[in-house]
Amino acid sequence: MAVGAEAIFGDSVVTTKLDSAIGWARESSMWPYIFGTACCAIEFMSVASSKFDISRFGAEVVRFSPRQADLMIVAGTISYKQAPVLKKIYDQMPEPKWVVSMGACACSGGFYDNYTTVQGIDSIIPVDVYVAGCPPRPEALIDALIQIQEQQAKEESIVKDRINTKFKGRLDA
């Protein structure tokens, strides 16, 4: 017996734009790479755990290989020492890819306005969604995921290249 969409549509045909179909598929199966460095990573553990359950949003397949991921969640402070590592991993992720900057430190350096902390990761890599908080509550990160999903649903995925060629970070030669 058919369930879900098959039960409703049976053998009939649905017409839609290819972009919409791809966007629809993408938004429900993001594979995040967690660039967790500090306190925010502990909050990410909560997002992934049973209570908040990131799998409700189709993003529970956490990959620790950048080659297999399309969503980078930068959770924690990025120091100057860490910046080349962040850049390298971002570059290793295949297109299309999205970046969430989680927490005050990743967004702006937070209250670490000093000699060692990068004042916002958007000086190194492009960012799609910023999440405020120190650390943000799990709901705030889930909200960021939904924002990315909304972007993906709207995106002209095939026609337009997502690669941001205009972005030039401090580590781009």
Binding site: C39, I42, M45, S46, K81, A83, V85, T116, C134
Partner: protein
């Protein structure tokens, strides 16, 4: 206490107003050697430096180095200080890394942050800042916000090749080099270990830290004491409140105040709860690392219950900032006791579910027993504290040896291991959770009524009611917010038993509301420096367990 030192170095040292022994530069190594070998000060807690450039009182020289040692029973502490004379534009002192293994990284940190060289040190290079960094950030004339871009990661071959040569490898063509971290799922934050492999065996390992160096110590130098409390939250972010307590306890020690009894008990209760949730996350992550994922949910989910309780109590889940100098921020809310009982029930359930799965599990035993063994002697020499040291069979716990608050009236045991392997380190933590729960139960029973913060207006903020209704209250509030708590001129080391071990703060105060210098003695730092030795001759799969079982938290490791 240190009679040999007293007689041998008579006239060569001076005790200053802070109780610190000032030793001449040329005798420092001999003095420390004598203290270790003859007087039994066998534990080096920390080494740090002070830059007196902007200090209001003129000191002998601009730089001084401070050594903090503990004796055999861990009861007595001795602090030594050396003023460093400039020698043809160069600052240097004899290294003690051949006397104490834990001095190795501590001295590297002093070089990195202050630019004081240690002669005959085996590997005098930076440890926290990156390779391309110029200057020494904790010097007073280094601008706080002057960041320096790092373009390349250190390949660490300059450390690896001598190490391989030591082990008798003339060429390394047959070996495979592998980076474990800094971005690795099992690297617990941002820790990098670079290993040389022969098949699956680790021949040689080198660790690099500093990827989460966030300039805590520099940031402290322009914040008032109470403003630093949020920074301390982010040291060991798995048990933020214990860091708050350690800092507040140290500053209260400098002020010479005793906080009200109720506040002390609140600190004990919430501190022990933090210890429990810290151990939970450590054990949960350890078990995931060996493939036992189910236990992760069993152990991690009770944390959510504790987060809810802490949110109600402090307003934050993770970074609580619950302590104030002189007491705590809020009293327990109505219904706290029931919530606490609910949390403890969940924790106990999670523990028993996990132990049912792993306690007699053959795979668990095979993976953990006799893996990553650290003997008691090595552990002390490396500066281990907390569960890691106790797993090696040394019953050192500041709550017992130097009891603070009411720990000496509470009935609890120190859990110790017998072998010092991964298994012991995990099982010690399981037992400590039980002991902490028992402490919480006992303390809740005898929780006295009363104030939660000292009533001294120079330390604690007045009630909001007074701020709005009378001039004295308003002025008190204004003064304290603008100037901070004024701490008398002192150099002081204070420590408590945090979840990971001895968490100490060495604070230099110049009498103002802002500390002149703050140095953290994180329990992770010495443990991390011993990791490469632990990994060598082991299997690559075990390296993940070794790292996890030490519970390295990057926030307090790199500060």
């Amino acid at each position: 206490m240190h009679s040999h030192f007293d007689t041998k170095f008579k006239g060569l040292y001076k005790k200053d107003e802070n109780g610190i022994f000032v030793v001449e530069q040329t005798f420092i190594k001999a003095a420390i050697k004598c203290l270790k070998e003859e007087d039994g000060f066998h534990f080096l807690a920390d080494i740090t430096a002070i830059d007196y450039l902007e200090f209001k009182k003129i000191k002998l020289t601009r730089f001084a180095i401070v050594y903090i040692l503990r004796d055999n029973e861990f009861k007595n502490t001795i602090t030594l200080k050396v003023y460093i004379e400039e020698d043809e534009g160069d600052l240097h002192v004899e290294s003690i890394s051949d006397i104490f293994f834990s001095a190795n990284w501590a001295e590297r940190e002093v070089w990195d942050q202050y630019g004081i060289k240690f002669l005959n040190h085996p590997n005098m290079k930076r440890v926290l800042n990156h390779k391309e960094f110029e200057g020494h950030p904790l010097r007073k004339d280094y601008p706080k916000t002057k960041g320096q871009l790092c373009t390349k990661t250190d390949d660490l071959m300059d450390e690896m090749i001598p190490r391989l040569e030591q082990k008798g490898y003339k060429s390394h063509n047959d070996l495979m080099f592998l980076n474990l971290g800094p971005a690795h799922p099992a690297s617990h934050g941002t820790i990098r270990t670079f290993v040389a492999l022969d098949g699956e065996n680790i021949v040689s390992a080198v660790s690099e830290i500093g990827y989460l160096h966030r300039g805590f110590e520099k940031s402290c130098e322009d914040h008032t004491y109470n403003q630093i409390i949020p920074y301390t939250d982010r040291l060991n972010y798995c048990s933020a409140i214990l860091n708050n307590i350690a800092f507040a306890h140290t500053v209260e020690g400098m002020l010479g105040v005793t906080i009200p009894e109720r506040a002390q008990f609140i600190r004990v209760i919430i501190g022990e709860l933090s210890r429990v949730i810290d151990h939970l996350v450590c054990l949960a992550a350890n078990l995931v690392d060996m493939g036992a994922l189910t236990n992760y949910w069993y152990l991690y989910n009770p944390r959510e219950a504790v987060y809810d309780l802490l949110s109600k109590l402090t307003g934050a889940r993770l970074t609580n900032s619950y302590m104030r100098i002189g007491g705590v921020a809020h009293d327990f809310y109505d219904g706290f006791e029931e919530d606490l009982a609910g949390c403890i029930k969940e924790i106990e359930q999670g523990m028993s579910d996990t132990l049912n799965l792993v306690e007699h599990n053959r795979i668990f035993h095979d993976r953990t027993q006799n893996v990553g063994i650290v003997s008691a002697e090595e552990a002390i020499n490396s500066g281990f504290t907390g569960p890691n040291l106790r797993a090696s069979g040394v019953a050192y716990d500041l709550r017992k040896t130097n009891p603070y608050y009411f720990y000496d009236t509470l009935d609890f045991d120190i859990a110790i291991g017998s072998v010092g392997d991964v298994y012991d380190r995990m099982m010690v933590r399981f037992e400590e959770i039980r002991q902490s729960i028992s402490i919480i139960h006992q303390s809740m029973k005898i929780l006295p009524k009363g104030n939660i913060i000292v009533s001294d207006r120079a330390i604690a903020l007045p009630k909001k009611q007074n701020v709005y209704n009378d001039i004295e209250g308003l002025m008190g509030q204004f003064k304290l917010i603008m100037d901070g708590v004024r701490v008398p001129t002192r150099e002081y080391y204070g420590a408590i038993e945090a979840a990971n071990g001895e968490l100490g703060f060495f604070i230099v105060s110049d009498g103002s509301g802002t500390p002149y210098k703050v140095k953290v003695r994180p329990p992770c730092f010495p443990a991390m420096s011993a990791l490469p030795k632990m990994l060598e001759e082991g299997m690559i799969a075990d390296s993940v367990l070794c790292l996890g079982s030490l519970n390295i938290i990057a926030g307090e490791l790199d500060r």
